[in-house]
Amino acid sequence: MLDAIRGRLRNVLTPETIQCKSCKAEIPKSKLKKNLMVCPECGTHLRMDARSRIALIADKNSFKEMFSTLQSSDFFNFPGYQDKLEKAQETTGENEAVICGTLKINGQEAAVFVMDSRFIMASMGSVVGEKITRIFEYAEKNSLPVIGFTASGGARMQEGVVSLMQMAKVSGAVKKHSDAGHLYITVLTDPTTGGVTASFAMQGDIILAEPKALVGFAGRRVVEQTTKSKLPDNFQTAEFLLEHGFIDNIVPRAELTKTLSSLLCLHKKKEAECNDSIRKAQSRTA
């Protein structure tokens, strides 16, 4: 009881800090947020929730959320799942582990999905699969590019084989969108693993990643046990993937909006549209 009061007092008296997972520096939360959740001491890109990420890249008031009322259910009566769902909803204020919608980046419209690792490690269950499938179907119908921010522990075990089937379901929609000639950009963020890596994370026309993001299929410990040797420090990092030819580039968070904007512009089907959006962007920065 006394401890709890002391703890609360401490929170009031001293500003809330977040410890950098890399250099262990204690950084005031507000300062960290202003710096896009990038550690000002060592440059480590800390995890960012989905809403902040949308705010980072979207033109002001341009984001329109879609499919937000989809709710997961514990259809297998899986031990602890209902609790997990409720807790995740409570702590994040979100319905599920992915947010979908449309937005504009420097005036250019795109469909987006953004995964939020705070929600059961953004594991992929029915709702995550359904929302991402729908955003690809919507983007295909409306001739929009898709930008996807991935972060996930993989498939959602609590939904058994149904979660595995989401990998095929989403991939089918990605394929249709792709065959219709539309652009799909993925931005791999920390951590992107398992079934998400083994499906839509690696299916982008252009695959970007944030610095030092963990990206892999199997977990590091499992790989270590299988390989029976120590793995290099950079194993399964964005840098490791770039070196092995599996991603197009690593983009620091501060440059992300500009990079995405340029990529959208470079894929405009008519030259005039591209010039128009460049002009708009320039007038905004001027």
């Binding site: 009322t69 997961s72 058994g160 394929k175 083994a198």
Partner: protein
């Protein structure tokens, strides 16, 4: 049988492997090797042969029948080059309008450092993406273990069948137990809660049907499988290439349980 007993049966070392089904079902076979990029993964075998009078492409994850071949085949855990070989054969099948028949039997894709280096995730992702777009009939049979993404990479099919005592799961029951109860020995409970049996798959529409096992009369059993495959291939071949693809899309589009407040 409990789910755990079925899991043990699915993993049993005396179970016929992928290679044995291929030998008994297809005639005039030519085996094809390699992914044209890195190597030839012995865990995945494939080639062309006749299903009755129809030329088909066959692909199987093969665990190997004796200890020597099991080591060579990495106990049926494919590496990226295995998945890329399978994809090459599938795209080749599409070019020549051949149906594709897959046999799935793996505890999962290989988890070694070399597999990660060569893009295990990307290899599986690419297979799933391309399989969802194939314009020829694809039929997959889970003959033992259907382990997660490594199995799905050969099972994005128009029709999926489960052998009577085969299992299909998003995670190994051992892995599930160690996450859920921090105790890998609680495999029995994990197998139960994960819903991994052939009956579960049929109930969840993950599989069209269950194929009875009769390993004592294996030739006869394979004859029945051949008849089943022939019937399906004939039925699917009546569709146009675009319809075949769309049918597969709709099959997978239905998966998911959720509610929606409009």
């Amino acid at each position: 049988m409990t789910a755990y007993e079925k899991l043990k049966a699915a993993r049993h070392s005396h179970r016929p492997t992928g290679a044995e089904y291929i030998k008994n079902i297809f005639k005039d076979r030519i085996e094809l090797h390699g992914d044209r990029r890195f190597g030839d993964d012995a865990a995945i075998i494939g080639g062309i042969g006749f299903l009755n009078d129809i030329p088909v492409t066959y692909i199987a994850i093969d665990k190997g029948a004796d200890i020597e071949s099991r080591i060579k085949k990495n106990f049926g855990c494919p590496k990226p080059e295995g998945y890329r070989k399978a994809l090459r054969l599938m795209k080749q099948a599409e070019k020549f309008s051949r149906p594709v028949i897959c046999f799935v039997d793996t505890q999962g894709a290989f988890c070694g450092a070399d597999a990660e280096e060569r893009g295990q995730g990307e290899a599986i992702a690419e297979n799933i993406l391309e399989m969802m777009g194939l314009k020829v009939p694809v039929i997959s049979i889970v003959i033992g273990e259907g382990g997660s993404g490594g199995a799905l990479a050969l099972a994005c099919a128009n029709k999926v069948y489960m052998l009577e005592h085969s299992v299909y799961s998003v995670i190994s029951p051992e892995g599930c137990a160690s996450i859920l109860w921090k105790d890998a020995s609680k495999v029995e409970q994990a197998a139960e809660v994960l819903k991994i049996t052939a009956e579960d798959m049929k109930r969840l529409n993950v599989a069209e049907d269950i194929i009875p096992e009769n390993f004592d009369s294996f030739g006869e059993m394979c004859g029945n499988i051949a008849n089943l495959l022939y019937r399906d291939v004939k039925e699917l071949s009546a569709l146009t290439p675009d319809e075949i693809r769309e049918e597969r899309y709709e099959r997978f589009r239905c998966f998911g349980v959720y509610s929606e407040n409009k």
